[in-house]
Each structure stands twice: as C-alpha cells, then as structure tokens.
C-alpha cells in the first residue's frame, strides 16, 4: 500500500493529468451516442447560440480580469456595477430632457475625481484645471442633448461618464484606503460595495424591471432581428442567428483586441501588470499605484456598463442581472485570472458548453448548473492556473 502511495506522490502531476484525460475521454465516449441522435441543424444552432451567449460572459469576465490583473482583487461587485452602469445609461437614453444642472454636477464631479487621481495637490496645476473645465463643459453639453434623435449620443456619453465615475469612486473611497492591507480585505470590500450599489439602485430606480430598447434602430436599417439560414435540405432545419447577440459578439471581440494591445504596448498597461504583482514594490520603484488602480477600476466599470447595457438590451434591466456575473466566474477561472485572451476563450467555452448541455440533456439544469463547473473542474485539475493563466511558483 505504501508503495502505491509513494508511487502516486512521486508522479502526482502525471497521474492527475492521465486521470483527467481519461475522464474527458470517458465523457466523450458517453456523449457520442447522444450527439449522434441530434439533428445537425440543432447542433449548428447550439454552437452559434453558445458562441453568442458566451460573448456576453466574455465581456463580463474581461472586466473581472482587468481588476484582477491590476490589483489582484477578485471583484465581487462586478455584477452590480453592470446593473448600475446600465441603469445610468437607461436614464440618459430614456429622458428626452436631461436636467443640465444634474448633468453638469455629474460631469464636473467626474472631472474632479479624474484630476485628483494622484491627490488633491494636482489641482494646483492651472493648465490641468483649464482642461478639466473645458472637458466638463463639453460633457455637460453632450449629456444634456435634448430630444429623441440624439438619445444614443446622450446615453453613451452619460453611461461612459457615470460608469467611470462609479469605478473611480469605488477605487478612491473603498479600495485605495486598503492599499498595503491583505488582499482579502479588498475582496471583502468588493462584497460591501456590491450591497451598497444594490441599495442605491433600488432607491434610485426602484425594483421594477425595465425594457431597454437599444436594438430598435435595427428595424429602421432593414437588418432583420434574426438572420435565418434556410438549411432544411442540408441540415434538416433552419438555423437562426440573433442580430443583437451578434453585435455583442463583435463588440466583445473589439474590446478584447483593444485591451490586448493596451496591456502589451502601453506604459499604463505594463504598469498595471507590475502593480498586480506587488503594490508596495511597484510604488517603491516609482510606479503611480493609485493612478494605475484608478484607471483599472474605471476601465472595469466601463466594461461592466457595456456588458450590462448589451445584456439589458437583449433581455431587460432587472435586479437579477448581477447574478449573471456569477455565470462569468467559471469563465474567468477557466481562462486564467490574469489573461485577457483567457477571458474571451473562457466565456465562449462556457457559453458553448452550456448550450450543448441544454441540447444533449434536455429537461435538466445541466447547461447552467452543472456542465460549466464540471468543465472548469477538469481544466483546473489539468491546468490549475486556467487555460491561459500565469503559472506561479510559491516558495515555502
């Protein structure tokens, strides 16, 4: 018996990998007959739907990864930031006449927070103040645009300003005071922020489910809401593609491209990666940790808002939306906590697994409750840092 234990201890990684691969093969062998029974059109449909739904998870996962990459914090408030940002967007989208005073307050407070990212001393710079004043005025004007024709411009600017303000405020008032403290304190703080945002959302917008009609413009362009591939003879049935979700996929791909470039080629992006490794060390070599964290939270809040708006447009705005972020957690872990590309792949894989599980095991909750986590478990056993995560060696 002890020989067996010794053999296992000596070859633990290899044995675990062999067992995992064997498990995967067993699952595939189990699934093959079930897959063979499916109509080809349904398999294509599930693949397409899985990729489209997965792109929503990818966008959410990206926001979580950005925060983690910059600060090492797993942001449990991301779901509420999605909803909160989307609600701000909705407010500007649905109000034909925004109060310029309210818009001005929001714009100038955002400018103030941005200008003071490194501290209040920066306000002594008159040039920065002048630029801030001009930017504040422009933002106020754009956010106060009257009428229906410009509702998208108004809402996009309002949503951008609002979400960046939320992200910066979370960083300034909740996360920044914890710099140097154990990361667990920051993680707990994100839970507190989540509850706080829930309360503010309820007090401001109530609990009524709201329709967000951002894809209505498609009707005027002649682009159908559903693109139908009539494949009765080829696949035994039609295949449909939701145009709104296709736009989500395109936007997700563009976002990923932009952030890959940002982290690889910009000094702020590189500094974020350094800050995530060790905040105190990064500060000691001259990196502006507070600024970097603020940028990360601003970007993450913006991504959260984009995700919330797109999900709200595809379904509706409701207090349930934050729960969707829970579905993105496996995507984050699957792709790797620090990997931008991993978030994309993780989200798409989870979407695919979910839709295929729905197809192969009808009438069960395998798609939403079981399959994504099973895949996650198998992948983590084989690659504990996720598919694209950075391998870490802890010296004891």
């Amino acid at each position: 018996m002890s020989a067996v234990i010794n053999f296992y201890d000596n070859n633990k990684p290899l044995i675990n990998k062999v067992l995992s691969v064997a498990l995967l093969l067993a699952i595939l062998i189990f699934l093959l007959p079930i897959i063979a029974e499916q109509k080809p059109s349904r398999m294509v449909q599930s693949t397409i739907t899985g990729l489209l739904v997965g792109s929503v998870y990818s966008l959410i996962a990206l926001g979580i990864v950005i925060i983690n990459k910059a600060s090492g914090v797993f942001n449990f408030a991301h779901g509420l930031m999605m909803l909160f940002g989307a609600m701000i967007f909705y407010t500007f989208f649905s109000s034909a006449n925004v109060n310029p005073l309210a818009a001005g307050l929001m714009a100038f407070f955002t400018v103030f927070i941005v200008l003071t990212m490194n501290g209040l001393a920066d306000l002594r710079d008159t040039r920065r103040l002048a630029i801030g004043l001009v930017v504040g005025l422009i933002l106020t004007g754009l956010m106060s645009l009257p009428g229906r024709d410009l509702q998208f411009v108004r809402a996009i600017i309002g949503g951008l300003v609002g979400s960046v303000l939320v992200g910066l405020c979370v960083e300034r008032f909740a996360i920044r005071p914890l710099i140097g403290q154990p990361l667990f304190a920051s993680v707990l703080m994100t839970l507190a922020v989540s509850e706080f945002l829930l309360g503010v959302t309820q007090m401001t917008w109530g609990s009524v489910e709201l329709p967000l009609q951002i894809f209505a413009w498609l009707d005027g362009t002649g682009i159908p809401r559903n693109i139908v591939w009539e494949a009765e003879t080829l696949l035994g049935g039609d295949v449909r593609l939701r145009t709104d979700l296709l736009l989500v996929l395109i936007l997700a791909l563009l976002s990923f491209g932009a952030f890959v470039l940002f982290f690889r080629y910009t000094s702020v992006g590189l500094a974020m990666r350094a800050t995530a490794e060790n905040q105190q060390l990064a500060q000691s070599v001259g990196l502006r940790v507070r600024f970097i964290l603020a940028v990360a939270w601003g970007i993450a809040a913006l991504l959260a808002t984009i995700g919330g708006v797109l999900q709200g447009g595809a379904t509706s705005l409701s207090l349930n939306m934050p729960l969707l972020a829970l579905r993105a957690f496996p995507a984050v872990l699957l792709g790797g906590l620090e990997s931008i590309g991993g978030a994309l792949v993780g989200g798409l894989v989870i979407g695919l697994v979910q839709e295929w599980a729905n197809l192969l095991f009808p009438g069960t909750q395998a798609g939403t409750e079981l399959a994504p986590y099973l895949v996650l478990m198998i992948v983590l056993v084989i690659r504990p840092d996720g598919l694209f995560g950075e391998k870490r060696i802890e010296r004891i």
Binding site: Q45, L52, A96, P211, N226, S316, T364, T368
Partner: protein
Amino acid sequence: MRKLILTLVILALLVSMAVFVQAQDMAMPDFIQHSDCEVDLTGETITIYHFGDISGAYAFITQPLLAGLADAIAYYNAHGGVCGAMLATDNRDTGGDPAQTQAHYDYYSSLDPKPSAVLLYASGDAELLRSQVEEDGIVSLISAGSVEGLYGEDGQTPGWIYATNPLYADQLGSFCEFVAADPMGVYGEEPVIGYISWPGAFGQAAFTPETIAYCGEQGVTVLETPEIFLPTDTDISGQVLNLVDAGATILYTNTLASGPFLVAKTVVDLGLEEDVQLAGVNWALDTSVALLSRTALGSDGLPAVNGIVGSLPFRWWSETSEPGVAFVREQAAANERSLPTQNIAYLLGFSTVDLYTELYIQTVNRLGSLDAVDGAALKETLDGISYSPLGLFTADWQGGELRAVPTNRMAMMMFLNATMDGPATSGDDALKIPNDDGTTIYVPILVPLTEFAPAPDLRPGGE
C-alpha cells in the same frame, strides 16, 4: 340679538354639515360589506407582518404589493380602521434568500406578543415555514402556493397557510380543461404541452404527476421532460427548441415578469408563432409581462405576449363594472401609482387589507376583545369564512378543508385597439402611447375566456 341668533344657527348648520360630511368620508363604500363591529377597538393597532422577496427576483411583483398595502392601509385607517383600531405594516426583505426568510420569521415569532398572522409571498417560503407556523400557532396568508407548502409532503394535510389563488397545479389542470374544450379552436386535436419554467418551488409547482395524469385524462399530453431556465438567461432558444422538437404545441410557463416575456420573445425569434401557443400561471398575465414585451413585437406588430392564455382567478383592472375594481383604480390614481404598479400585486395588497379587516372584525366579535385574538382564533375564522374582499375574489376555504381558493377562470392577454373599444388585431390598429424612454406602450387588457368555475383538485389523492 336676532343677528346673534342667526349667526349661531348658521354656525350650527355649518358644524352639523361638517360632521355629516366627515361621517360620509369615514364611511366605507356600500359594496364593502364588513361585519358590524360589536367591540370598539379605538386606540388599538393591528399590524400586518409581511416578509418576502422585496429586492430579488420577485421584486417586480412585491414592490406593487407594498404599494397596494400602503394605499389600502391609508384608506382604511382614514375610514375608521378595523372598528377603530389602526392598521400598520411591518415589511421585511428576504431578498429571495431562504436564510433571510428564516431569520425574519425567527424575529417575528420571538416578538412578545408574537404575531397572530403573517403575510408570506413565495412558495419556497411557505414550504420552509409550513411546520414552524403550525408549531408557533401563527396563521399565514399567501397569494398562491405549492402543494407541499399548503398541504405538506403527503399533499393531504391542510396546514396554517391559506392561499388566495388556486394551487399552481390546479391552475395547470384548469388550463388543460380549457385546452380540451378548445372554445377558440386553436389547440388542435392532439394538443401537447411543453412545460418551461424557472427552477425552484414556484417554477416547478405546477409540474406534478397528478397534473400530468389529469391533463392526460382530458386528452392533453404534458411532455414528461420539462425545460428549465434562469431569470438571468440571455437566450433560451435551446430550451424552447427541445420542447418543440419533442412535439410541444403549447408552451406553459410557471414564471412571472421577464419569464413569460422571454419565452414569448424566443418563440417570435425562432419563427414559431404559428406552431405553438403560449400559456402560463396567473402571474404570466401580469402588467409587468405586457410592458416588458413592448421591446419584442411579433409578426402581427403586437407585443410578443399577445394571445398568451392563463389563469385569472380574480377580477382584473379592466373589469370596471365591478365596484371593487373601480374603487381600486380610483385609489391607484389618487396615489399617482404608475402603470407598472397597477398590476396583480397591487390588487392583492388592497384585497389583503380588506380581508384582514373582516378577519379581525369577525374574530374580535366572537371573542369579545382584541387581546384574546391569537393565531388559533384567526384560523378558526378563516376556516369558516366566506367573504369576497372588494369583490375581487372569494375567500372560501370550504370549511377548513382546503388551503387554496378553489375557483378559477381562464383569460387571454391582448392589447387595446386605437378606438379603445376592444382588442387590437395587429400593430396597425393598436393604441400606441409614446413613452418617455422613446418606446411605445401598448396597453394590455385581459379578456376573460371562461366564467369562474371550480378548479380541479390536483393534490395527491385529490379528485
């Protein structure tokens, strides 16, 4: 002197007129026929203890419920309360978390004196607390419930929780009767129901072996494999296609708010409008479903949920010939309640306060004082009561034999036409109201398809 006398006479007249007007204001409308008060409860307070999911998945329903409770309590208190006693509420939010439900119940049940009655909301809460309320002697009212919550695991043991709607299982049974009769001629000769719903006690409450068997007896097949989706799902085309591929011609959903909307939207997205009919639980006909649906129009240009059939076991906002409905509409308008608030739950809030009032009057009359009222006394009253709160439904639990109101009727959700004299047949002739958010509001109307009739008793062993 004559001037003084004249002035005094005028003053006296004015005072008496004021008293008369005040008395008129204090009186309830004629159609509210509470029992006569035999005990003066002036100076007392009766609290309606309510705890439920105010911030989670059911918030779209519970927020209007709170509005209904608040408006009704304000009105009843301004009109004498319960024999002089003032009504009050104590609302607590569970957020849909059973642990919070338990915590709030523990708080209530440890009060001294402990509440005689509590108002619950979710089927899951009823299942969780069923044995506890019985043990503590606290009677409970709930809008609708599952078999297990109201009758226990054996389905045969009436507990201390009383529902003001038919059981969800009975509602599906009623629908199967309706499909079998097929008065609209749309369900075909071999109707097959595919059950698509949320997970959990509420979502699964209607899918029982008894219901499936009963529907089968009516000639309506219910597919053995239901499909489950979550309120957060972005797309449920896979679930809908699974049911359609399995032969479903009707999709029945035991969900609310975004649930029925998402099912209807998916049917439109998949181009299945001609192939499947939509149906659901009473909550599927709610205003919130209709308003959400304005973002997804069917091929007829009307919101995707147009034509969904479901249970309507109470009077609805559009039945203005009913004085109770007209009264609630007046109150909602007076309190500036928005269209989304004018839903099922607002009606429920008002009728609950009226039922509480009658319940306490009858119980206090029997016992002689409010202090003597406890849960057991209220239960005794509920077992024997036959009362129609505001005429919206009839609270009659058949001498204590039942725990869910047994009468039901079917209705269809449609949308008002431009001339406001009937349902629209297409988007072209629908009444369209521009909304602040740039969308167009289509005004939902519920068209009763049958008269009130007993629903089948589909408890295990029921008939």
